[in-house]
């Protein structure tokens, strides 16, 4: 029987997988690495190392950056240097102790030592100044936006050097939501100009330093950005929604990139969920997408669901359909 890792390799290389890759079974997330601070749960708020105020109101599924006039970090993109202070919290060796211990215990025959990295480059621009300012800045103040993106890219590269030295990760799971459910936030040309070069640089560094697998999370429409993802060095696009026409993407790009997702969290992960709903979604997407270049998974990402039991129920349904289809 193939290990989870071997089965993944067969799937993404067009070989002979024994079963569907079941969600994140081939990844072990080392969550202990010193990322920027994150709200621990509903009803909390924090100011992270970049000065961004995050608030997670009760009853919500996650935290949001606060962008009223008082709390926006960058109040004027042309003066971003005045507002942005690059953190160096990750340079403290003590901050890596727990992560190193965790990484050592991972059975690398079964799983990749995986770091989930957020925010992504686009996400950082709008976390610092709000979505409207960030998107308009790409057109109205492109020079300043390039400078800001370069600044964050350099931070990510500096972080990557420490990460590689401390943990030796074998997979990077980069979070960067690039669209709504029906369109990308920006055109492919704008993405190519502003974001592709930075990601290419960062992912190349990782690949040259022991990372075997790059996953990019964007639970959105982003079919028009797939050529850029491939050029960036992304092996797996996680979060792909059905609005992207996944079977068509597999037909066009299978072999160059693998699509992970297809089980829309919004449609199965809600308080009144039940097994029948999940079965319907799992059956449909697995039958439509087939056995290669596709990994069935909740689009939300990571190895969690918003409501208890959903992630596990999806896993069970994928196990069932694997037995039927393989």
């Amino acid at each position: 029987m193939l290990t989870a890792k071997q089965n993944l390799q067969e799937t993404i290389k067009g070989g002979n997988p024994e079963r569907f890759v079941n969600q994140n079974e081939f990844l072990e997330f080392v969550y202990e690495v010193p990322m920027t601070s994150y709200c621990p749960g509903p009803g909390t708020e924090i100011v992270d190392e970049w000065g961004i105020l995050w608030r997670w109101p009760e009853g919500q599924l996650g935290p949001f950056p606060v962008h009223d006039a008082e709390n926006k970090v960058i109040k004027d993109i042309t003066e971003w240097k005045k507002y942005v202070k690059v953190p160096d919290h990750y340079k403290n060796p003590d901050a890596w102790t727990d992560a190193k211990e965790h990484a050592k215990q991972i059975d690398q025959n079964e799983k990749y030592v995986t770091i989930m990295f957020f925010p992504g480059i686009f996400e950082m621009t709008h976390s610092l100044m709000g979505m409207e300012d960030a998107l308009m800045g790409l057109y109205e103040e492109p020079e300043a936006m390039h400078e800001l993106i370069d600044c964050y890219t350099n931070y990510l590269l500096d972080y990557a050097k420490v990460l590689v030295a401390e943990i030796e990760p074998t997979a990077i799971y980069q979070h960067d939501d690039l669209g709504s459910q029906i369109s990308s936030f920006m055109s492919p040309d704008v993405f190519k100009e502003f974001f592709l070069p930075s990601y290419k640089k960062i992912f190349s560094f990782y690949k040259e330093n022991g990372v075997e697998l790059i996953l990019h999370h964007s639970d959105s429409y982003a079919a028009n950005l797939v050529p850029s993802m491939i050029e960036m060095g992304v092996d797996i696009w996680q979060g792909v929604m059905t609005t992207n026409n996944i079977p068509a993407l597999i037909k066009e790009y299978g072999g160059k990139i693998t699509f992970m997702g297809g089980i829309h969290s919004g449609e199965v992960d809600f308080p009144e969920w039940n097994e029948a709903i999940i079965k319907e979604h799992v059956d449909r997407i697995c039958q439509e997408c087939g056995k290669l270049y596709f990994i069935p998974n909740l689009t939300q990402g990571a190895d969690v669901s918003s409501f208890p039991g959903v992630y596990e129920a999806v896993t069970a349904e994928i196990d069932r359909i694997s037995k039927e289809m393989f």
């Binding site: 949001f64 979505m131 409207e132 998107l135 109205e140 369109s183 704008v190 919004g266 449609e267 809600f270």
Partner: protein, 209 residues
């Protein structure tokens, strides 16, 4: 190219730093303020259509709306007292339990560009607040409710039903990623727009403008 056409082209291209001067030039050349405004509204219609068809993306729509607002600033003093260009007031908000504001903000811009006076209630708006705002403001002709999450669909339903119970004649438009025409019909909304680009045309249709 006429001065008005130049304004129109600048709005469509989102050249917010140039529009104010272009509007001034058009006024100096003798073009009527109403004609200039109509041209800008038409531009935003084109922008909305291009967004709906996937030809342009959110940033292009944002800069076009910003450019239009710069042009309107120049026209406002000239048109002071002339209410004929207003389609009435629209109250808008994202429903209770939902903090997403990008789609809502885009719709606010598009409706404002189309000629509505917008009252933006922000996000996480309780159903009753829509009704209160409709009573507090003059000439409210439309209430727009946005919901992005599957989990907040019940709040969207509650908002529409609360508004209709308190103000049966009030027109209500809904939108957001999980919303469909069928769902809009089911909860008693008067209209639904699948995206921000088509929201202005649908809003005008609902109020009979």
């Amino acid at each position: 190219m006429s001065k008005v056409e130049a304004v129109k082209a600048l709005v469509e291209a989102g050249k917010s730093k140039k529009v104010a001067d272009a509007v001034q030039e058009a006024l100096k050349a003798g073009d009527k303020a109403q004609d200039i405004l109509d041209a800008m509204v038409a531009s935003m219609g084109v922008v909305g259509d291009k967004f709906s068809s996937g030809e342009i993306f959110v940033p292009e729509m944002l800069i076009a709306a910003k450019a239009m607002s710069k042009g309107v600033e120049v026209l406002k003093p000239v048109m002071a007292g002339d209410s004929s260009s207003s389609l009435g007031t629209c109250i808008m908000g994202t429903v209770a339990g939902d903090l997403h504001d990008i789609g809502k903000n885009l719709v606010v811009m598009m409706l404002e560009s189309a000629g509505f006076d917008m009252v933006d209630l922000g996000v996480d708006v309780p159903a009753e607040r829509f009704v209160e705002a409709a009573k507090e403001n003059d000439n409210v002709v439309l209430i727009a409710c946005s919901g992005l999450l599957t989990t907040t669909m019940p709040a969207l339903k509650e908002a529409v039903q609360t508004i209709k119970a308190a103000m049966p004649e009030m027109k209500v438009i809904v939108g957001g990623a999980p919303v469909t025409q069928e769902y809009a019909n089911e909860i008693g909304a008067d209209g639904y727009a699948p995206d921000a680009g088509s929201s202005a045309a649908k809003a005008k249709e609902i109020i009979g403008a």
